[in-house]
Symmetry: C2
């Protein structure tokens, strides 16, 4: 739980996850690529020749989740790497200055009390595994990189979750979002 | 307020701040150096030849401060760089896994409700300027790097603030702390 998990997502011509589609939801797009690779380190550009882009983040301590929610999440959320999960999504987002100037209690109020981010996700988590990475402190172009894994039969469920989050008040503070859908090479 | 401010503190033989003393409060020490320089970027080791150490962090959004506290802090906290503030301190700390596995509400409870971190600091802030930098997401050895600036006549006041924080329940979670006192070259 307290571990620091660094990651670099590299977009390039080849890699273990093939890009099914890339969709710019809001803000500037990312260059189109054919494949994505996740590396468990913070790569510098010269360490990834041929990369169209490198997105870096760190999975670390929770920022909004309270104790009862931690227990509820722990009871339902699956691990990454389940063998039946051939589908994946990488969704980088950035939030606006208006979000980051809010105090902690104001952000929690929007995030959970009004947008029900955690409560909504709970219903989907038995099917959809995910890991959140923070990029803001690294000076990255995206504040968050979320990685999702799910089985083909849960593709519609995943669309539902993404649609639900994008309709929240919290998402009004998202000023850049790219949605990258992936298929694991078999 | 929403700006990202990166910093690298470099310990070396020369620099604009001369080390008055370095004191290991808990955990592993840092190599003794004669001077410290703050650079407003994230330096890699090959960009700072001759450095005994480089500590990197980012000043970013608040993690515990609520709206009323934001207003109270804004009303009293001075900017860095006041001409009469020849004294400075760099205090890198790391918190234990026990801290980082806590939920957000449990950390806030210890940080403010029981340890009164913000309320205590408020009384000292008109005299003491400070900036907090987060290093945990960068994979740095210290989770926090706090930089303080104060005038010589407030040196005792600063000792009082540091002593007060170290006596809190919050500080029981600090498993590495080095206290570096500095004097600006005139």
């Amino acid at each position: 739980m307290a571990a620091i998990i660094p990651v670099s997502f590299v977009g390039a011509e080849t890699g273990p996850y093939r890009v099914l589609r890339m969709n710019t939801v809001v803000g500037a797009p990312l260059a189109s690529v054919a494949a994505v690779t996740a590396h468990p380190v913070h790569l510098t550009p010269n360490a990834a020749p041929g990369a169209a882009w490198i997105l870096r983040g760190t999975n670390s301590a929770v920022r909004y989740v309270e104790r009862a929610e931690t227990e509820a999440l722990r009871a339902v959320q699956p691990a990454l790497g389940r063998p039946n999960c051939s589908h994946a999504a990488l969704i980088p987002i950035r939030k606006s200055d208006a979000w980051w100037t809010l105090s902690q209690d104001e952000r929690r109020e929007i995030f959970e009390t009004r947008s029900k981010h955690i409560a909504s996700c709970l219903a989907y988590l038995p099917a959809i595994a995910r890991r959140l990475h923070h990029g803001r402190e690294l000076g990255e172009p995206f504040d968050f990189l979320t990685w999702f894994e799910y089985a083909p039969e849960h593709a519609e469920l995943f669309e539902e979750l993404v649609g639900l989050l994008r309709a929240t008040e919290e998402w009004q503070y998202v000023d850049r979002e790219v949605d990258i859908r992936l298929l694991k090479n078999s």
